[in-house]
């Protein structure tokens, strides 16, 4: 079953990453690429958090969010290269 559609990462890939030591969304991302794609985890993050919680025997709310970095929404290089408008 595919969990991260942007990077085509399956539930098996995520469980494998947890067996290899991942304990957080960031740990999963660095080991599998889940959440590294165009949507930056917007779609899959809650699903990944649920798998983490199940495997680590925690509550999903106890799994910390991953880091958010600019740009908040994808923007073209052309737009980014312009002087910011006041």
């Amino acid at each position: 079953m595919v969990i991260c559609r942007c990077e085509e990462i399956t539930v098996a890939d995520i469980r494998q990453a947890i067996r290899e030591g991942a304990t957080s969304l960031t740990g999963i991302k660095r080991r599998t690429r889940a959440g590294m794609g165009l949507c930056q985890g917007r779609t899959c993050e809650t699903l990944v958090a649920r798998i983490l919680a199940e495997e680590l025997d925690k509550k999903a709310a106890e799994v910390p969010c991953s880091s958010v970095r600019p740009p908040i929404v994808p923007v073209t290089f052309g737009v980014l290269a312009e002087e910011p408008h006041e």
């Binding site: 990077e7 290899e20 030591g21 991942a22 304990t23 957080s24 960031t26 740990g27 660095r30 080991r31 690429r33 590294m36 794609g37 165009l38 930056q40 970095r69 600019p70 740009p71 994808p74 923007v75 073209t76 290089f77 052309g78 980014l80 290269a81 312009e82 002087e83 910011p84």
Partner: protein
Amino acid sequence: MSRAHDVIVVGGGVIGSAVAYYLSKKGVDVLLCERGDVANGTSSSCDGNVLAIDKMPGFDSQITFESQKLYDRLETELGHDFEYRRLGSTLAVEDEEQAVTARDWVRRQREAGLPMRYLEGQEVRDDEPELARDIIGLVECASDSSLNPMAVVFGFVLAAQRYGTTVKRFTEVRSVVTGTRGEATGIDTSEGSFAAPRVIICAGVWTPALAETVGVKVPITPRKGQILVAERTKTIGRRKLMEFGYLMAKFGGAAKRKVEPDMEKYGIALVFEPTPHGNFLIGSSREFVGFDTVCSNRVNTLLARRAIRFYPAIKDVKVIRSYAGLRPYTDDHLPVVSEAPGVPGLYVAAGHEGDGIGLAPVTGLLMSQMVTGEQPVMPAEPLRLDRFQKNPVGTTHSSGS
């Protein structure tokens, strides 16, 4: 205190994990301590280069070449796919003045044994069709490669564990512990004390603070580098490309680049890196701003401009993320792979700036040979820590890659 190990390695980035791997492969009993998850600091916020193209001919290029040879067989050795691709790398030449220097650069590198050549005219268009039309030449190094840096760290750590390394994550090392003769006897951590007659600090930009706990000075300064991540797209460039003009400015050999002042202020020079997943990275800035890793919008704008200058088609591609990491800078652009003077049993492997990923295998191998008393794969005198006492810091370069 738990049972003693042979060696404690502090730091689970690419250097610490490489050191742990090469040591445990020789049968040494290693304890690896890391404050967070492995691949959590600089090794998770860099790019994935193994580059000889931007090294001074001589020791710098030779040590890189040695590391490239180790990388060529490392995926097989570790049994771990880290997306290693030996596509070669290129430097873009912008004008005739640079071209003269570039041809000479290639000649000297070839004499030093590196597989380099100079492309011009139609060869440039054939090599990278999307490159700006006013780029007149390309310096190519065929042995350079790209990889996924985090996957390298995970590969080293998993293999080290198979060879018996104990990995303690989420364990912050607070100080080195010494004995009655001032020798290293272990470490004190957030999870208690651990004993070993040898301690190797592989903590990158966090090395000086830890070494200071036993009075050892390690002149490493954090240098911030910010990078943009592009969406998956059609092929813009097929392999790594950097600016020849910036490299020459770095070595002090040529005129300043013709760029807006902020490009120099933030140390912006293009590093284009395609990934095997169909997207690419755009680096990088180079700033001395302490331990700040917040992504700056101004730097993102400048990076985007620099990318479009070399690849005009990039303007319609989307940026999906930026990130910044701290490169462990030393004044002479060489790392420290050395015993620590004054504290028997203490070693340092750190300070690789932008070459930590590239030099990790040779660093791990050299450090393992140093600790076990074997003949080193190459002489490591230029990497000794006491070189900074002979040549005080702050007198050589002011910029670098």
